[in-house]
């Protein structure tokens, strides 16, 4: 086990290859639930939770697919796993942790169709990560999502008080802001842990 590699994976997932602002995965919840800070934070933690769990669960499934020479089935199999996983987690939380379930609310089922979650498991395979590396990549990828959505939500809360030209009001100015944030995150490219 190489700590440096794990650190490098984490740094990459949070900053250099941020899922939203650099890889442009999971844009819909990023735009959809970033109007208020508290919902954005809730969504962020839900994504961390599901991404970590999905990475862990998809690893053995991928091993099975490799054994049977069925790599081309990865996408379909992973979608199946993630959808089932989210459903299961939702039921489990509803029964055992109703407060957490209420806090996550509608965001948990929303994650089923979040491409960032499918992206993280496919990237795990692409990069050839082992089990621990996959889980770390999943969790830190979710942390990157949290970072991006919290930054964006704080900007959007301030945008409420600004007066852009009429044509830019609401969604257009939010999209431009997201684009500028993505530009600024390009500054992290090339950052490495030796």
């Amino acid at each position: 086990m190489d700590i440096t590699k794990l650190l490098s994976i984490s740094l990459g997932a949070i900053l250099v290859n941020n899922f939203i602002l650099v890889q442009f995965l999971g844009i819909c919840p990023f735009m959809g639930v970033s109007k208020k800070m508290d919902t954005a934070v809730g969504m962020g933690f839900a994504v961390i939770f599901v991404m970590g769990l999905a990475s862990a669960l998809c690893y053995p499934v991928n091993v099975l697919l490799m054994k049977l020479d069925l790599e081309y089935m990865q996408t379909v199999a992973f979608i199946l796993v993630i959808a089932a996983l989210v459903q299961f987690v939702e039921m489990f939380l509803k029964k055992s942790m109703p407060t957490l379930y209420e806090a996550l609310g509608v965001y948990l089922p929303l994650i089923t169709t979040n491409c960032a979650v499918l992206g993280v498991v496919l990237l795990n395979v692409q990069e050839g990560y082992n089990f621990i590396e996959s889980v770390v990549y999943g969790i830190t990828g979710g942390a990157g999502f949290l970072l991006a959505i919290v930054l964006f939500a704080s900007i959007r809360e301030r945008l409420q008080f600004s007066e852009p030209p009429k044509a830019f009001r609401g969604f257009p100015i939010a999209l431009i802001t997201a684009g500028l944030m993505a530009l600024s995150f390009m500054g992290f490219s090339g950052l490495q842990v030796w």
Binding site: L68, L70, A77, F92
Partner: protein, 276 residues
């Protein structure tokens, strides 16, 4: 052969997950009261927070648990409350519908100690930078629309004089506007009320007169002339007791400031003629 493996694998995976979910749905089953959905259905669903619970779901849960009365929702009219009462199996007494009312009609007819305000488009912001608002009058509406943003039902607008105005047909009496207003200029009146006093200036007459062209100066002419004793000057401003008011309109004609208005329940404050 390969295609067979693919079929088998996905079939088995799907089957296993299906089975696990089916078992999980039994194991983790949470029994919810069917009445909850019915109550939630009867509530308006705007999550205005007027009831004091977190959203309509919170209000429905509180009603179901008996922690709140069936008419806890301030935005629900009679038939909706009746539906909830029917679900809960209790009777509810008819409550008179009330609506929010802005006790100010000054706006551009009021004196401004600051000619131009260019800060945040928000009354709270204006209050902070200008000391006590941009008006001479310490009680009037600043007209920057904090209440408009707070209204979930689109029932408040800033009218042509730059004063907040409630559309009483749309208003649901959630009173979120009153909570948002830093000037505390919004109160409530019965929906059936015809005669309104759109001023809340508690200054003495001479001061109130210099501050605004449509201010109540507390002259008591309305009080003296009211045949039913429904209107009285309290803290230098006329206040109507709607239990006694018969909407005769005497005060409207007697008011030397032409301040008191008779809206004839058409949801619009009639234009005020200024006699200056």
């Amino acid at each position: 052969m390969n295609i067979l493996y693919a079929l088998l694998l996905l079939g088995i995976l799907g089957g296993v997950f299906g089975l696990v979910l089916a078992i999980a749905s039994k194991v983790f089953e949470v029994k919810t009261d069917p009445r909850l959905a019915e109550i939630l259905d009867a509530l308006p669903g705007a999550n205005c927070g007027g009831c004091g619970f977190p959203g309509c779901a919170g209000c429905a849960a509180a009603i179901l648990a008996g922690k709140a009365p069936v008419n806890a929702c301030p935005s629900c009219s009679g038939d909706k409350t009746a539906r909830i009462a029917a679900v809960m199996g209790v009777e509810v007494k008819a409550v008179e519908r009330r609506v929010a009312f802005v006790r100010c009609s000054g706006g551009d007819r009021a004196g401004h100690k600051f000619d131009r305000y260019v800060g945040l488009d928000d009354c709270v912001g204006a209050m902070k930078v200008s000391g006590n608002g941009t008006l001479d009058c310490a009680y009037g509406c600043l007209g920057l629309g904090t209440c408009v943003k707070a209204c979930k039902f689109g029932a408040i607008r800033i009218n042509e004089h730059g004063v907040a105005e409630v559309d009483r047909h749309k208003c649901t009496h959630c009173m979120q506007c009153a909570a948002a207003c830093p000037r505390h200029v919004i109160t409530d009146v019965p929906y059936s009320s015809d005669i309104l006093v759109p001023c809340g200036n508690k200054d003495k007459g001479a001061v109130a007169k210099t501050h605004c062209a449509v201010s109540c100066i507390g002259c008591r002419l309305c009080e003296k002339n009211c045949p039913t004793g429904a209107i009285a000057v309290v803290d230098n401003v006329a206040v109507i007791d709607y239990k006694k008011c018969t909407s005769c309109g005497t005060c409207v004609t007697k008011c030397p400031r032409k301040l008191i208005v008779d809206i004839h329940n058409n949801g619009k404050v009639a234009p005020v003629v200024i006699s200056q």
